[in-house]
């Protein structure tokens, strides 16, 4: 199994940390992982993205140009990364703020209204975990126990009190993810 994922959105949406928790969960399950962020000024308020690869085998390149899954959280990222999903691959996006929806007919497309739902139930701070939950529902590449361990490892100790809230958000995401367009 090799899963190549791009997560993209605004800086501050928790794009990088979502990737990190996913990657750390992979480490805990003894898989090979890589996490390759965009970095620099573009991160400060602009767009941020990270490529996460989780595999049973040694990862050759941490940088790839086509992805099994794209998780997209703003319009700029939609414009940039919709075309990078491999045919038959998966695109998940939060329609909040999206003006041009994905149009491809050779991939599976799901929506997750994570921003709205997270603010409704007071989980705005863990909005990114709602998105991660939706992804894990569709692709359970890492088992829940390892997600828990991944959270423990990637959050500083002083924030370990927030782990239940994060897990609640993941559960919420699994509930609310919706199919938008499916291949036969």
């Amino acid at each position: 199994m090799t899963e190549e994922i791009i997560i993209a959105g605004f800086g501050g949406q928790g794009v990088l940390s979502m990737g990190k928790i996913l990657a750390y969960s992979g480490v805990m399950e003894n898989k090979e992982v890589s996490w390759m962020p965009s970095y620099g000024p573009e991160m400060r308020g602009g767009t941020a993205n990270v490529i996460v690869i989780i595999s049973d085998e040694r990862i050759s390149s941490p940088i790839v140009n086509y992805f099994d899954t794209a998780i997209i959280l703003n319009q700029q990222s939609m414009d940039k990364f919709e075309k990078t999903v491999k045919p038959g691959g998966l695109l998940i996006y939060d329609p909040n703020g999206i003006t041009r929806h994905p149009e491809r007919k050779d991939i599976n497309i799901y929506t997750i209204e994570a921003a709205d739902e997270a603010s409704k139930v007071g989980l705005s701070k863990v909005f990114n975990m709602v998105v991660l939950g939706g992804y894990l529902k569709l692709k359970p590449i890492v088992q829940p126990e390892y997600i828990h361990k991944g959270l423990e490892k990637s959050l500083p100790k002083r924030h370990h009190g927030l782990i239940p809230e994060n897990e609640k958000a993941i559960a919420k995401g699994k509930e609310i993810i919706k199919e938008k367009y499916l291949l036969n």
Partner: protein, 360 residues
């Protein structure tokens, strides 16, 4: 028992340096390597091992702090990125001339000038052909994974003290910034004062009654003596060539075409090799791990086996000169690369291999 963590290359290097028993780090912030000092400051290594971490007023000061610390037989290191490494060249030349051990990390970004903060490999010439003034060589290690960023901190110190020579770890922004799984060695103790005196009898530790004074200098105004010093330096570099050449050969046994690449380019090229083999082309990858000494012999040997060689570098083509020297004119050697901070994709490497080497 090794510890498993998910870390950025920069952080893994910093943590591994603490665990390798480093005595001191001296640095100055510059993107994309600032995490090295940030991590060290947050870790309070002074409490863990007694290691000193100091933010200097400039890269120039930082490398000269390294010079001072290394003169005392201490395990000292610095890190920077391309423009900062340029500033350090004066100090590096002195350290090489005075034959002192130290570890220097360059997390390369695109140039020239202020350039870009994105990854590049355009400092190959600077790293392997001198950089500063004078006839000297650094021992250059090129990590291509976060694990090697960690491993080369310890290996760097080992080689630096073995040869009393600065070791440069030539990384790049991609390896510095990305996270991968890394196995960390257990903490090694720092050398005690007694061990330093025993292991580095040349160091300035205070002149005791029972020995002559120790002097650390790169100066000798007597040209005859300075030439002898240079001859002995060259002999040392030949020793390094004999003993320390490191490389990784991937799918080279039956290769009809060869890609030569180091660092991040080697990772991309490895994926390209997989893709090309899936198309039915027998392509191999030779990844130099030491850039000086350069794996000339194995490349020369493979040149007799393959029909063409492609070097992949994030530069205008610098390492290609060493590959061509190794190959002579026996087989075509071409370059593919991107510049200015752009990382080529594996499919671009595949296309270039077809166009320039396989001849499709």
């Amino acid at each position: 028992m090794k510890e498993l963590r998910l870390m950025k290359g920069n952080e893994a290097f910093a943590e591994a340096a603490i665990r390798a028993g480093a005595d001191g780090y001296f640095g100055y912030p510059i993107t994309p390597q600032s995490e090295v000092m940030e991590y060290l400051m947050a870790e309070k290594p002074h409490e863990r091992t007694g290691m000193v971490v100091l933010q200097a007023e400039s890269e120039v000061a930082a490398i000269n702090m390294v010079y001072g610390g290394a003169s005392c037989g201490k395990r000292v290191l610095t890190s920077s990125s391309s423009p900062g490494i340029s500033l350090k060249q004066e100090g590096i030349s002195y350290i090489a001339g005075a034959e002192l051990p130290c570890v220097i990390l360059n997390v390369v970004r695109g140039g020239p000038g202020l350039g870009t903060i994105q990854p590049s490999q355009s400092d190959y010439f600077q790293s392997t052909k001198g950089g500063g003034h004078g006839d000297y060589k650094l021992l250059v290690l090129a990590p291509s994974s976060v694990q090697e960023m960690a491993d080369f901190a310890g290996l760097g110190f080992e080689l630096a003290f073995k040869y009393r020579n600065p070791v440069l770890i030539l990384s790049d922004g991609a390896i510095g910034q990305m996270m991968e799984k890394v196995e960390l060695d257990e903490q090694k103790p720092r050398w005690t004062e007694e061990e330093i005196i025993k292991n580095t009898p040349w160091a300035t530790t205070g002149k005791t009654k029972n020995r002559e004074r120790n002097i650390i200098t790169s100066l000798d105004l007597d040209s005859g003596k300075q030439e002898l010093h240079n001859i002995s330096l060259q002999a040392k570099y030949r020793e390094m060539e004999k003993n320390e050449t490191r490389y990784e050969a991937i799918s080279c046994e039956d290769a009809e075409y060869l890609i030569v690449a180091y660092g991040t380019s080697a990772r991309l090229s490895q994926k390209a090799v997989d893709l090309l083999r899936a198309e039915g082309y027998k392509v191999g990858l030779l990844r130099p791990i030491t850039l000086f000494p350069f794996p000339t012999a194995i490349i020369a040997k493979l040149a007799d086996q393959v029909k063409g060689i492609l070097t992949v570098e994030m530069s205008a083509g610098q390492m290609i000169e060493d590959v061509r020297l190794a190959v002579g004119c026996r087989v075509k050697v071409e370059h593919f690369g991107r510049m200015g901070g752009i990382i080529p994709s594996p499919t671009e490497v595949v296309d270039a291999t077809h166009k320039k080497i396989i001849g499709g």
